[in-house]
Each structure stands twice: as structure tokens, then as C-alpha cells.
Amino acid sequence: MSDPVLSVEGLQKYFWEQNSLVDRLLGNDPVAVRAVDGLTFDVRRGETLGLVGESGCGKSTTGETVLGLQEPTGGRVEFEGRDVYDLSGEALDEFHREAQIVFQDPFSSLDPRKTIGKSVQQPLDVHDVGTKAEREDRVRDLLDRVGLSGSQYDRYPHEFSGGQRQRVAIARALALEPEFVVLDEPTSALDVSVQAQILNLLSDLQDELDLTYLLISHDLSVIRHICDRVAVMYLGEIVEIGDTAELFESPGHPYTEALLESVPRASLAEQDRTIDVLTGDVPSPRDPPSGCRFRTRCPEVIPPEGLDIDQKAYREVMNLRGLLENRSLSVTKLWERAGYDSPPEEPDDAAVDAFVDAAIERHLERSLPREYRVHVEDAFAAVARGNWETATLRDDFESVCERTNPDLDGTDHPVACHLPDR
Amino acid sequence: MSQGSGFDLRRRDVLKATGVAGVSMAGLAGCLGEEAPDELTITLSQFPDTIDPLDHITGDYFDVLDHIYEPLFDFEPGDGIFPRVVEETEILGGGVTELQLRDDVVFHNGDDMTAEDVAWTINRTVDNDIGVASDIGAFGLGSITGAEAMDDTTVEISYSGAPGLAEFEFGNYARAMNRDWSIENHDADQEGESISGADPEDFNGTGPYEVVEFTSGEEVVLERFDDYWGEEPPFERVVFNSDGESSGRVSSLETGETDVTINILPEDVNTVQNADNVEIRRVTSFRNIFLPMKNTVEPFDSQEFRQAMNYAVDNAGIVDSVLSGFGEARGQPVAPGINGFNSDIEPYEQDIGMAESLVEDSGYGGIEIELTVPQGRYLNDAAVGETAADQIDQLDNVNCEANIVDFGVVSDANSAGVDPDVIEIPFYMIGWGTITGDTDYGVQGFFSQDAETRSFDDEELSDAIAESQSIEDPDERRAQLEEVNRIAHEKAPFVFLHTQESIYGVREDIQWDPREDETVYVWGMNQ
């Protein structure tokens, strides 16, 4: 195993909302959007580390924060052993030369007012590399190298197709002969045939120039195709890191597994493959679930000891608990279902019963063993009387998954999950 | 009445009509359309923005306020003053004149008018410590120093100048306010306080009309005051409103919305003459228009230069063109008909060559000057000023630009005095209506070295005026005033322009001759 080029430890990046002067005057507390929440990983020299996840999981923010394009909220990033956020002067210059980035959107990645030659030359100008003529020559070489022609130096970006622009962006990233390149969804805006060309180009360049890549992508096929190792992100956290082949063949985390299963394969066998589709949506990073962040969708949440119900019924109870804890159960609608036009001020027992029935019918599709059902009924009755505090069902149903957030275990193929053997 | 009159239903008509029980809508419609015969509407060019009768010295304001706060005397331009509220005057000597008041005068609120009221009003006019700093006091009652009530109907007025001058002054500017009412309701004896308000009750004079409706800045409606001591005035109701545009006033006249309007521009004379039932009435006013030149700053310290300016301007031509003939070129500070007008003095005639050589003589050849011109105050004022400036500019050795500003600027410039450190605008256009009918009023404020507001600092002229003020014999005094005018012509403290005509549009069936002093008195009218 080679030494890490980049080593990330506990990286956090929060965005703040409601942070204006007016908000302060109003006494609104700023709301943190936890885009990246405590990442730790290494990128090893010469490898391609894939960072995969669905939209909004914080993977692009990670890429940008690692390069210092965003101020981190917490954590350290070391590049070649030096803390990136402490760099200044010469050393910072050096870092800017050694670490580069290629972005997703080929239409936004090049300044439309600059010729592509000038765009590629810009890093050279900034770092004052060589003479003007040397720089121009270097740019022409680079353009040739990425499959364009040096003669296109004076063209403007709009004269190029998406794939060609992406080649220019790659040329620009390579201009300073960097050690390390962040590839932020470099092909996701491209058609599949062009994507393949770019992927091939990236592979070739890596071989030739001994580059280290951090490849950010939501496309598992792409990840699998070019990455040596993969880190899977969910809601600002890494849930699993591992060797590509190993991770793809025996995923450790339920999320990784679901993710892999969800991808339709472009093969004739695809129609016969059965998938266990993951339910629900990704929760908001403003208010991530407690404990394991995946628990709200996880097909294998761990019930508390001694609780003997099947996973689907438990899932239902968990969902209900979410509503109760957030007090987002729509009481008015339930009262309507129970036959009351408006919620009664002081509901009598009959009313409460009607409410509970309506709520059970509404929120529990699966039958729950009697002993557990009672708890739910009590909770609903409490809600009917307005006692949200006592209606959380926490004592009866709380899972380890919601209490503690599992850390990546210290193995070669670390996984953050409470399940044993994972 | 022409277009739109069918809709011209006013609330009072409705009130009247609906006052009669059982009047049907048809009947109602039938009695509309015709202006109630006993009502007169007068459209001014400026609506009073103050209701304190002492806090102004503007013609349009007098037109409104004099009907409410009647003058103590009747002033007839050219003829002098006649008894009104004051029945008799007696010069006691030693700078004191005694006034005998009528004993049957009541205020609109029912209080009897007493000598206390008159004396207090005069004191409030001339003494800035009591009430508002009065423009009338500063300009109108310049020589009056105070007044005292001797008994219920006797007031003694003291003054610093000649009794004749004082008589001209209080004859024109003395009014009576209700002392107790003013103090109780408006703190009117507090320094700086003027009477203000937006209700009819905020007016309280002894005039033949009392206020019944008042919309600030827009309209005031007067009705005959039933307890008026004198002759019943000709109209039951009088409405005053205003329109800053001559064309607007003419429109109102055309459509019958108004019966009398003032300040019709020569341009609109045609329209009025062509309209039905209305006609033009006009008179050469006591108002002279001129361009003061403050002689404490360059280049106006040179008499040659000032004379040159007078030669440069073709004032007769301006009258013919800009004023379409509605005026007369003038060569002295006051208009004909004014006591002391010097009929021997001819206007400066335009003589470019003379002007240019005088400029050379003055040593100010090649100078650049600016003429500040007010807009909307006098007959075609901006146009007159612009033309005058351009005519000066046509001299080879003078550059002159006109700067057209609001009247307030000019007015401030005029009263800024002659301190060279203070003067920002030494050359401007202004008009002065010598409404007292006496030259003194036309020259004293401008030339007397005692006057803070003087625009010209010259001992000879000032002394001549001072001398006139102490002469008691009217003929001698007139002769001295004629001399003052002569000196003024020669020293050219102004570029003398012209005397303007007052042009009125009046309903044909109203018998009324416009007055030289520009006031419009309803009691001088007849149907």
C-alpha cells in the first residue's frame, strides 16, 4: 500500500441559513445544513478513489472543500503531509499547482469570454511559468494531448461540443502538471458515447502522468470502471470505503447494497433480475436523522432487544415515530377522519377512541402484535389530548440505529453500520 | 356655459335642491346647469399658503385675505386713502397720528372690535417679538414703530418718518385682528408664531365676508358676514381658488367654472376675447419690472457699466414682442400715477454702440455675468429675463447667461442686502408694485441705506430719499420724490425695463374696473 497523497480527517462543511442581520435581530438561530459531516479518508498515491452517492449527499462539497474552494467548518485535510488550511505564500502556491479540479458542467467550466487557449493558459499565467511563448507552446501541446488540436487555441468555448469542452477543462487541470486531480462528475453531463471517450482519456492520462484522482460521481458504472477504491457517501457521511471489486461484489453497508441493486444493467438479463427497491426519500441535511442517518430508509434496522416484529411492520412504527417526534402528525386531518370537523377542545374518551381508531387505520397498515399495538394506541391517545411529550414511543421501540451513529470500523474495508458482520 | 357644464353639479346645489322636500330627480336636474346667480368665483394664480393676514406681502394673498380682514382704510390708487374702519385721522405731531375707529365693527366670531385689537395688530405687524416675522411689517409698515390704544375707539400710531409716508403705509397695510381670539387660539403673540389651520374657524376678521369652507391650498369659500357694519357686498358667496397656469385659468373662464381670473398672459387674450360672455379687462399697474444690480460687487460698482446694461436692453422691444404690447417701457423705479413719478424721464433707448463703449469705459470689457430670472411670477417673466440677458449677451464685450429659477430664490437674493461677502446673486430680475401709490414705497427698500434689504448702496440717493421722508408739504415732497427718481435714472441701480399691464378675464356682466394696485375687491364690483 502506498502513502496517502491526501489525507482527510473529520472534515465538516456546514452551510448556514437564516444568518443575516435581520435574522439576528429576530433572534433566529442560524440553521446548519450539514453538507459534509465528519469525513475521514485517504487518497493514496497513484490511485483513483471514487466518491459515490446520490445527489445532495455532499460529495461535490467534499471535493471543493478538500481543495480549499470552500471554507471547512471543521476537520483537517493534509496534502503531502501538510495541513492544507494552514498553507500560505509559497506553500499555498505549491498546493495550487499540485492539486487541480475538473468540474461536471462543460458549459460552465470554461469562461465563455476567453478563448480555450487562454483558459488553458490561465494557470500558467497565474503561476508565471516560463515565457509567454513557452506557455503558448505548452498549451498547444496540452490541447493535442487531450485529443484536441493546438490550432484550436483561438477558438471560443461555444464553438465546441460538451465533450470537447470537457477535454479543454482537463487540459487546463493538467497545465501545471499536478499530482492530484479532483474529478467532480466529469462525465455526467455527457452522452454515453462521449462519456466513454472521456473516461478512456482520463485513464490514459493517469497512466502516463502518474496522477492521483479523487473521482466524484453518482454513476456506479463509471466508478466501477475506473476506480481503485470507492467511498460511499450518504447524507454527508461515508458509510463504507473499500476496494472497488470487493465493495461491488460484497457490499458491507445496506445502503451500498441497495444502491448497487438499483442500477439497471444494460444487458438482456436485466429484466429477470429482481430488486428490493429502497423506499422513501433522502432526509434533509438540515435536520438529519439521529443515530445512523440511513436508518429512516434502511431495510435492516435493528429492533430493540426482545422486540419481535417483522422488519416491515417495524419500519412502519419507525416512520410513525418520526411523525410523533417531529410533531408532524396531521392532527386536524385525523380528527376529520374520526368524524370531527375541527379538533375538540377537551376531547372526551369517546372522541379519543375515535381518534385513535382513525389514526391506527391511517398509519398502521400492517397488523402489529397486540402487545405492541397497545403502545401505539396510547401514543395516539396522548396526541389526541395534546400530550406530544409522552407520545414519542421511544421507550418501547427505540432502535440502536437511532441512538448512536455507527463509526467506520477499523478494518481494511471499513463499514459504518450496527449490523454484525458488516 | 360650454362643454362639461351639464355635469357641473356642485354639492351646494344638491344641498339646496334636496333641502326642498319632494323635489324629484327630474326637478333637480332642471334647476341645475345655471350658476347660482349670487355667487362669484375668482381664480387666482397663487393660493395663499398662509392664513395669517400679516404673514405675507403678496398680491394674490391680499385678494383673498382682505375680504376677511378688511383694511382699515379704503385706498384708491392715485386718489389716496379714505375712511373705512377708521373714520378719522389726526396728525398729532412728533411722529404720532391718531386714528378714530368706528364703534360698530364686530369680528366674525361676534366679538366687538376695539382699539386694543387694532393697536395690537399693528404692533404685531411691526414687532418681530410678537407673533410672526411679518413681511408686511418689513416692507409695508417700514416707518411705523408702534401703536397704542387710547380708549375703545382711539389708536395712536407712532412712526419714524414723515406723517405723509406713515399715512400711505398704514393706509394700505393696517388691518385689524382679534387680539384675544388670536392669542387664545393661536398663540399669536408668541415670537415666530403665525396663525395657521385648515378650518373656517381659523379665520376671524371684520371684513364683509366670512369663511365658510376652506380647503388648504385649494379653495376658500366666503359668505356675506351678516353683522358687517358697512354696505352689503354684492355677492352672497365668493369662492377663491387658484391655477398656476394662465391657460388653465382661461379654460376655467371659458367653461364658466370661474368668473374672474387674474394674470392672463397676452397669449391667452385672444382666447378670452373669442369666448362667450367673458372679456378682457386690463390696466397699467403700479408694478415695475427691473433688473437690480448690486453695486458693491464687480462689475456693477461701475456706473458706466450699469448704464451700459440699460443701453444694451431694448425694453420697448421687449414690451412689443414678449409682452405683445401689454406694458410700457420705463426709465425710473416707479410707474406713472405714482406720487413722485417723474414724467420728464424717458426710458433708456437701446444703443448697442453706446453700451459697448460704456462697458469699455467701465474697464469691464469681456466680463461674464449671469442674470437670475424668476419664473411664473410676473407677466412672461422668464421670457423677459431671457431676452434681456440675450440682448446683453449680444454686446461684443459682455457675456451674459440667464439662469431661470424659482421666485423664492430671487426674492431671497433681493432681500439679502449689499454685503459683498454675502451676495451670491448680484444681478437679477424682480418686479415691484408700488401699491401705496407713493414713490417712497418703490425706492426706500431698495436704496435707503437704512434698509437692510437695500440692493444699491449710494449715499446721494439714500440722502435724497431720507430728505423726502422728512418733508411734510405734499408738493415739496412730490418734487423731492421726482428728484429721487431722476437720480435713480441717472445712477442706474437697475436695468429699468417696464411697467406691466394687469390683464384680467372677467365675466361680461360683472361691472368692475381693474385697479392699478393689482388688488381684486369684490366690494368694488357690481352685477
Binding site: 474552494l69 499547482r97 469570454r113 | 391657460s247 382666447t271 414678449v322 421670457a383 431671457e386 431676452t387 440675450d390
Partner: protein, 333 residues
């Protein structure tokens, strides 16, 4: 800064639509008229006294009017006929209406363009910096902008002029000083305060647009890329953000020129411009004599309308070709 693509877009839109052509022809004619005013004018526009022998202003050629004059105290009606030397007649002080019309274009355009330029020079950098850095600077700018916008432009202008006076600035006329035109004024008065006030009134719009651009541009990937290899903020602002904000700013500037021409005209109309050689003032002058000599007000009004239309047409053209997203709300000022 103006790339090929922009010019080609402009060219194409110009080709395809009639309106930009009209606008272009109009504006070019008006600009030429303004530039060569001393050559095109037939009389010194400030020279008064062009009357007939009765002292009456001439009507435009082909028309006549009757007016009343007082001769020796008597009112007489006289017919006034046109004079071939005064194509569009003369005004009430006997100035040549045509010559004043020609010169009026100078004031309108000079004020319009110079105030816009000033506003741009002030507003754009402030807006770019606020938008680029965000945070407190931006917060402050937006509050200032809100405050400025709470004043109606005209009202604010009136208040400012009330404070600072009108101060016309006399600018020498190059054509006259070269001796190319005889008998024309050697300098023309530019309403100085009006120009500065207009700039003060509208700079906020530039700041807002520039801010918006910077705000979105700072998230553009090429900007991030530039930062990633160590470009300084200053270079990013000058090298990327500014050039890419140019288009909407140009479109806005065009709209604002129109706005300012109207503002100047309004101020001149109200008598606050400090010069009489302005279309707006000329309309005011004609207001009193609208009934008898309507041409005095009418012609300068047409001048304003045509100029503003020309500028607006070009603005529409720019917007259509360059930046379809800039909305009409900017027309506020």
C-alpha cells in the same frame, strides 16, 4: 470583452427584425444631429428676438396664426405668417425653434450617456464586490439599495437639486472652436447637478444587476477552477466576473439612458435643470402658449419621444440578442 458570439447574435437579431433597424437609424441621426448641431442649426439657439415686425413669434412654415397685441393701449388682432428663415417657427422669446431642437439633442444625449456612465462606474464595482464576497458587505449594500429605491427617482433628484443648486457646466463646443460654424454659441451648458443627481439616483440599479451577476458567477465552475489554481480574488473579479457581467450591464445601461433622458426632461420641465437649452424646458416654455403657439411644446416633445424610442429600441435589441433574462423591472429608476 465583446465576444464574437455577442456580435454575431447582435447581427442576427438586427438582420431579422425591423425594430432595431429603426432604432439604429433614429439614434444615429439624433447623435449626428447632436454632434453637428452647430452646422445643422440655422440660428444661434440662444439668440432671442426673431420676431416679425409686430414683435410676434413666427409659426412653422406653412402655418399661420392670429394673435392679439396691444398697440397704444388698444387691442388689435394680427395675422402672423411664417418666415422661411425659421422652418419650425420661433418661440415666445423669439428663438429659432428648429435650432433649439437640434441643440436640445445634445443636452439629452450628453446627460443621458454621461450620467449612465457615472452610475455604471460607481454601481458596477460596488455590486460586483458585494455579490462576489456576499455576507455583511452584501447585506449592507442591499439595505442601501432598498433605501435608495424607496425614494422616487424624481423626488430624490428634486431634493438633491434643492440642496446642491443647479450649477450648469459650460462645455466649449469643439466644432465652433475649430471655426467650422459661425455665429453659434461657443459653449453649451450641461446641467451639472442633474447629471450627477441622475447618476446618484440610478447607480443602485447597476449595483443590483452587477451583484446578481457576481452572485451567480462566483458559483460558475470556471470561477471555481480559477480559484483552484490560485487566481487571486482581484484577478477573478477583473478577469472573469466583470467580463461576464458586461452583457446585462450593457442592456441595463441602455435602458437607463432612456430613463435618464426622461428624468432630465422632467427636471428641466419643472425648472430644475439649470439650463434653458433643453427639450424639457422648451416644453415648459410652451405650456403657457399651448393654445396659440402649440409648436413650441410639441416639437421638443417629439424630440424626446424619438430619442427615447431609439434608445429603447436598441435596448430591446440588446436584450433580445444578449440577455433575454433581464426584466423590465430595471426600467424603474
Amino acid at each position: 470583452m465583446i465576444s464574437d458570439r455577442i456580435t454575431s447574435n447582435l447581427r442576427r437579431t438586427f438582420r431579422e427584425s425591423l425594430l432595431p433597424k429603426i432604432g439604429m437609424v433614429l439614434l444615429v441621426s439624433i447623435v449626428l444631429m447632436a454632434v453637428f448641431a452647430p452646422l445643422l442649426a440655422t440660428h444661434d439657439p440662444t439668440r432671442t428676438g426673431y420676431y416679425d415686425e409686430g414683435g410676434n413669434a413666427y409659426p412653422p412654415i406653412g402655418t399661420e396664426y392670429t394673435t392679439q397685441i396691444a398697440v397704444d393701449g388698444e387691442i388689435q388682432e394680427v395675422e402672423v405668417t411664417a418666415d422661411s428663415a425659421h422652418v419650425l417657427g420661433t418661440n415666445n422669446v423669439g428663438q429659432d425653434v428648429y435650432s433649439r431642437f437640434v441643440y436640445g439633442a445634445r443636452i439629452s444625449l450628453l446627460v443621458g450617456f454621461s450620467a449612465t456612465l457615472m452610475a455604471m462606474l460607481v454601481g458596477v464595482p460596488i455590486g460586483l464586490i458585494a455579490g462576489y464576497y456576499g455576507g455583511r458587505v452584501d447585506d449592507a449594500l442591499m439595505r442601501v439599495a432598498d433605501t435608495m429605491l424607496a425614494f422616487p427617482a424624481l423626488v430624490l433628484a428634486l431634493a438633491l437639486i434643492g440642496v446642491f443648486g443647479e450649477s450648469p457646466v459650460y462645455v466649449p463646443d469643439p466644432i465652433v472652436s475649430l471655426g467650422l460654424a459661425d455665429g453659434m454659441p461657443e459653449s453649451i451648458p450641461i446641467p451639472g447637478t442633474v447629471t450627477i443627481v441622475a447618476a446618484l439616483v440610478i447607480w443602485v440599479w447597476f449595483a443590483r444587476v452587477a451583484r446578481g451577476e457576481a452572485l451567480s458567477l462566483r458559483n460558475e465552475e470556471y470561477v471555481k477552477a480559477a480559484k483552484s489554481f490560485g487566481t487571486t480574488d482581484r484577478d477573478v473579479l477583473i478577469g472573469h466576473v466583470l467580463p461576464n457581467s458586461v452583457t446585462p450591464i450593457i442592456v441595463l445601461a441602455t435602458i437607463q439612458v432612456a430613463v435618464i433622458i426622461l428624468l432630465e426632461a422632467s427636471l428641466a420641465y419643472l425648472g430644475f435643470s439649470g439650463t434653458t437649452l433643453s427639450w424639457g424646458y422648451e416644453i415648459e416654455r410652451g405650456q403657457d402658449i399651448l393654445r396659440t403657439r402649440p409648436w413650441v411644446s410639441t416639437l421638443p416633445g417629439i424630440g424626446i419621444v424619438l430619442t427615447v424610442i431609439a434608445v429603447n429600441l436598441l435596448g430591446d435589441w440588446f436584450r433580445d440578442a444578449l440577455d433575454p433574462n433581464l426584466d423590465e423591472g430595471q426600467r424603474g429608476a
